[in-house]
Amino acid sequence: MTGDHNAAGHRAPEHRAPRLSVTGHGHGASGRFIEAVDLSLSFGSTPALRGASLGVAKGEIVAVMGPSGSGKSTLLHCLAGILVPSAGEVHFNGMRLDRLSDDKRSALRRGRFGFVFQSGQLVPELTAEENVALPLLLSGMRRGPAMAAARTWFPTLGLDGLESRRSGELSGGQAQRVALARSLVAEPEVLFADEPTGALDSMSGELVMNLLVGAAREQGTTVVLVTHDARVAAYADREVVVRDGTVGTLTGAKP
């Protein structure tokens, strides 16, 4: 993610979302844990989102599908507070995420969200287990317990014996599983995953999805999962399809 996205987002919005008052606490305008209303965002002259709306209930696992370039990653980044839409509203747990200061949004991301992206997310200077322990260390846990917690993930992920490798010494699929462990180790309230199995063969993809869904259900984690792989999407509770920057709901609950 580049740093110039906010500037790029300051285009005249095509239409403004209706003003919704922030409800007390706990949930967004419609009572959903995460609620995006009528999001628009352009990169230069390229509109990426054009009135995209999506509600996600607490503990729900939602797959976001759709053609390449339709705006899936952009939507995910807006929901996660990485990008700020030029129009529309993002509610998280009753807060207007898009109105928070940069500092507050970063704190929220660090404290309550987990992320797993397609590739290139491990810190190359750190070992695999240090990478997994990173969120715990950043939240102030002492090194001993953090490393111990990190190590428990390796056997379940089929990564036994790779604890002290650096990311350059791991295969793409192994690095991806390390990144998944890192995204879940601090038990985030929401896990944002963008093509988490994109670089994996079907066996490791299945391993990763079983783990991700298993951990999410156990911890009550809400998951927003971008994927173009229907077999991966089938692990979710429901799917939405993004087309041309808007979200069409096909199954499950109403938006």
């Binding site: 053609p67 079983n210 229907a230 077999r231 089938a234 509770d237 096909l250 199954t251």
Partner: protein, 176 residues
């Protein structure tokens, strides 16, 4: 899938009564559609007639079912040949999906809506199969995976078709 060759294959394990063959067939391959006894016995007599199996001697005290069937060398050879040859990789062009899309386009209707609901139905089924897999045993997983990969193939076709619908519509309407 060939019922006679599958039964013959089960028979290759050793002489069996029709009842045991039916039970094992249903357990492995029935998928909720068990064979009828009459179908099993009719198949076994045909296999015997064709020299793929022989009926054993009538047994005393063996219940209503009096004889076991034994596979012949010819039967063994048939099973071996069948197991080694690929099933025809049929593109299944006459499927309902294809028919509905083309018919909708011929009639000038918006096939995109149909593709959307079909897509949702496919994914719903894939979710059920995935859940089934998460709880099932090894053979359940094997079976569910096969269904999942086929549904996935359909879905890819659905997405590919949805993306080219305008172009296809022009061609189809130009033809009619």
């Amino acid at each position: 899938m060939s019922v006679p060759l599958t039964l013959l294959g089960l028979l290759e394990r050793g002489p069996s009564h029709g009842y045991d063959l039916k039970r094992d067939y249903d357990a492995y391959f029935g998928q909720g559609r068990p064979l009828r006894y009459s179908q099993v016995y009719a198949t076994l007599s045909r296999l015997a007639r064709d020299g793929k199996a022989v009926a054993g001697p009538v047994e005393q005290g063996a219940g209503p079912e009096r004889r076991r069937y034994i596979i012949t060398d010819e039967g063994v050879a048939d099973v071996e040949k069948w197991l080694a040859e690929p099933a025809p990789p049929e593109p299944d062009l006459q499927s309902e999906l294809f028919a509905k899309v083309v018919l909708a386009l011929i009639l000038g209707k918006h096939a995109g809506n149909y593709l959307d609901v079909q897509r949702a139905a496919h994914l719903q089924r894939m979710r059920e199969l995935t859940e089934f897999k998460r709880q099932g045993g090894t053979l359940d997983v094997l079976l569910a995976d096969h269904a999942l990969y086929r549904l996935e193939a359909d879905l890819r076709w659905i997405d590919h078709t949805a993306a080219r619908l305008d172009m296809i519509a022009r061609t189809v309407q130009g033809q009619s």
